[in-house]
Symmetry: D2
Subunit: 337 residues, 4 copies
């Protein structure tokens, strides 16, 4: 932490600031210029609220010197985290595709779509059995029945399963059916849930919150890592801005930023980011070009009958075409898919 004193800070104020810093356990280095005094406070105190120093008399500004996350940081670990599930690896040169409907709606539907996912060469089947819906009057998901048929469909077609867990008490149930827990955008700062997920050994895909900075997102990953689960991947799915022609604003620059700051793999979800089918393919291509380690894409063969988010689902034939295009782009940047 670096503490900048006000130009007119008195000797007493400076001493008081130093005493506080020492009481909090920091080592102190003082630099006096002609106008400015700067105090370097050395010592890693994750979670320390720097405003505690900022409000002391005589203090002008305070800056953290270290990032607030530790285990999620690139410094913490040599090389990239690679998440292995069965014979699939996420975080290598091989880009992994996840696809499926927004919500599991029926046995027939999920088997039809699992078939498409397998045909395309994608490895992971997505689908929600418990759905976070902004309206209490909307379809809320099939629950355990949905989990069962999705597992069956995935097994039939040799796929892995990723599905959302929304509440602590659902963890045990969902763990029986899924290979990857999805933590949704609205739960990114549900700290109790993060801790409990951290106590499991099931891989987790942590979606970025609508208004979460990359730093807060990595702090939420830290919750899971700090509780013992190191199988965390991050999923960019669009943030909230003033723009209304798209559902959210797809922050693709988060991909290279995460790769610089952290060792964790990054998934990109162009379906939620754009909200409209016609924009999904160009944004999926862009995500691969930007360096995503995995893509999650919604598909549906009868989008106008979908119980949730049909308008952003690709048709199976369009998905199959897209996968071919993604393969070429992956190759162009030295990766496989």
């Amino acid at each position: 932490m670096v503490v900048i004193l006000k130009n007119n800070a008195s000797e007493t104020q400076i001493e008081d600031v130093k005493k506080h810093l020492e009481d909090y356990g920091f080592q102190i280095h003082e630099s006096r210029g002609e106008v400015k005094t700067i105090i370097g406070a050395i010592g890693v105190k994750p979670g320390f609220d720097i405003r505690k120093i900022k409000i002391l008399d005589g203090v002008s500004d305070v800056y953290r010197v270290t990032v607030p996350f530790k285990m999620a940081s690139r410094n913490f670990k040599e090389g990239n985290t690679v998440i292995k599930i069965g014979n699939i690896e996420i975080g290598t040169d091989e880009i992994v595709l996840m696809a499926g409907p927004c919500a599991v709606e029926s046995e027939d539907q999920i088997f039809r779509l699992a078939k498409v996912v397998a045909e395309s060469g994608s490895k992971i089947l997505r689908g929600g059995a418990f759905k976070p819906r902004s309206s209490p009057y909307s379809f809320q998901g099939m629950g355990e029945e949905g989990l069962k048929i999705m597992r069956a469909a995935a097994d039939e077609y040799g796929l892995l399963v990723v599905t959302e867990v929304m509440q602590i008490h659902q963890i045990e149930l969902i763990e029986k059916y899924t290979d990857i827990f999805q933590l949704g955008a609205r739960n990114m700062q549900n700290f109790g849930l993060l801790k409990e997920i951290g106590n499991t050994s099931t891989p987790v895909m942590l979606k970025r919150g609508l208004a979460a900075t990359i730093e807060e997102w990595l702090m939420s990953a830290e919750y899971i890592l700090a509780n013992g689960n190191s199988e965390v991947m991050l999923c960019e799915r669009g943030i909230r801005t003033f723009e209304t022609y798209t559902r959210n604003t797809f922050d693709l620059s988060a991909i290279p930023v995460i790769h610089e700051k952290s060792h964790l793999p990054v998934v990109a979800d162009p379906s939620h980011a754009t909200g409209y089918r016609t924009h999904v393919a160009p944004m999926a291509r862009a995500a691969v070009a930007a360096g995503a380690d995995s893509l999650m894409i919604e598909i549906h063969d009868k989008p106008e009958e979908a119980m949730s988010d049909g308008p952003q689902a690709l048709l199976p034939k369009d998905y199959l075409t897209l996968v071919q295009e993604l393969k070429v782009i992956a190759k162009a940047i030295g990766r496989n898919l």
Copy 2:
């Protein structure tokens, strides 16, 4: 719902759109101009995803005609909701003050501060026993022990208690100690929690999410109302914007907007909105002038030792002064405090 067809929409496309609308259960009114065809789709379907129509061939645009919330809407109910707890009423001309520390830290601390709250004439003691912290390394709250001592302090000084519930499994425990459940900003779209809180009969203060529109906020209130709990108040606590000189941006215009759209009372929290002690008093004054029905303000007598958010806490003497100022402003706009 109003459906605008494209200028060049074919007769077949128009008929197909009408068929879809009828299948979804809407009544249809068609207007044909020289260039534009407009279809009015009458029928209230809360939660209907209008993108389902927007993606049909020949459709240019679709607008909802009704707000998506129903029970939270001003149309739903004559007059304002008044929440009665003991001899306190929230939602009348009398402005109610809630104050206390961010977190319950010790018996001594909470008793000292409860005394200040009572002395100021404020009616409700706030304090967190379970704390949502962005860092896993920060103080996470005293838990049940904190609830117990806060209840004791409130009882000692004739105050009500408001405290945060973060998880479904905490409801039963916290209900024993609190008069009002606080639902935090990060849980505004924790729909499972909203439903369970809706099943209780304890009044709820629902904080606005950092990136929540007023409409989404009212939809979250709708979850609680639709499950049977009509004692809901809304709390504006700042939204996330690009500005960094304040912790959040205090959206005070939300107060008159809510009063226009809904019958529910509005609380304003200038402490979280600004994040710095020096800005709390002017923003508290502004909130009263803007029409807030209640204010929630953080106080601490040793803010530099506070375990959470000390920098935004007012000192007791400053709080006492502020309350006197608020009384005068309340009177100036024809209310009491």
Copy 3:
């Protein structure tokens, strides 16, 4: 400036960073902890791009120690800037009201409204003769004819005039008719215009840009001050956020923040901030309570015929009522109006 070296920065890298800093003219103070090395670079270089240091090898982070504005800063000047125009002062305990239509539309209109402004006891007549409109097909203002009749109306009723200047070549013309230049939100970073306005001695009201941070806003004020014009007031008029129920988000916390960081007076414009007549009065009250030195409010007696922004204009009778309410609130916080 404070430079934080990476944990593993080599001696050569540290020396190279120091050399760069010295070449840029900074004095250096070095602090070495066990893990971290911190370099304090002393010397005020307004406008220095700190990213120049941030990209050097071995550097982890860089922070500015001083704010980038100088003459706009509270440190620069004892006491508050008070702008005197005729017998009016802006920046004292007396709150000054500016009111009038969005656009000057006719002689009759502006005289009718100037009469209302005078009757209310307000001192300054607002009105646009050159209008920034987002559509090329919208009314663009009456031009010089509009300036003439506004000046005549103001003189008739003993009022001052504030009107917008949009282009450098308009300065000379508008200066003949106005007492205060308004610099609009869309021109807040029109640096050429700021400089030329800085070369005049006419007082300026600088509106905050839709996406401008408070720091950028003060930097734009700095352009005017640095060119010799010290009569600058700042006008908060709402920023752009994701919220759609209001036209903009009125950032009232900017008022106490500006008062803390700068000596310049602050005007608040609740009309543009909210965009709807019904929200103007509560937000005007809140702005006074938050500490605004002046308010700018749009009024119109035939808002449905207004050529621009009629929907946000108060009716004369509502304005007269509002002024009475504002007087009481001003008094409640120890000011006059």
Copy 4:
């Protein structure tokens, strides 16, 4: 326009709304449901402020039926606009690269960099002679001298020139030296400048404002088109959000959205969008994959000495490598570069 009446709107109110609409010149179609009355108001009135109807008694909501831009709209014109300058075309399958320093700093510098641009196969040299700087104390550009040497460097290497025009009075001067006018983000709503640029026949690259919606951006293009200049390309350069790890948030989804709504070509500027050299290459790759018709990239061979934005400039060798990667991605999506 579609007008939704309130459920309890009286017959008199409905008639009054209809009269207003007719007075404004609209044709009327009325639909009465059991609960809702909807009035379709047919007639294109670009620039009509729908709030004029929204504030009438009995009105619940009003929606525009047509987009507010006309000549910029995809409906206005068959096929894509292709801008031809010399033997270069922008808006075809061939992706055009623009590169160069942020600011022209010296003859030597611009000749060295023009050589790199030519070697890479890029066609257009960028560089600012008049610089918009947020600080009055920063380097403001070389002015006409800069224009001269940039023109000379471009001619020497067979390149076109793009450079920024900030003020109306600079148009005539800059037109002598440039092939394309750049309109900067801060001038996107400088309507007077847009009009004057519209009166020239020089192609224009219109950058998106920091807080501009895609709709507002297209409205600004409309200003230029409506004044007679049809050679407009749009440049996405990042928007302002709450994220701080990047300078701006690169809204790549704007590319497919613009291609859907408009016939104008889209340029992408990953340098300003990200602000840091390390993120430029992945974002440039993503922009090509997302469908950009052209890219503008900042390069510098001595970035630590650059007078402006050095930290976001690519080194020549990195630029040459990037161009090769972009060629492969362009080919992967069926385009050339």
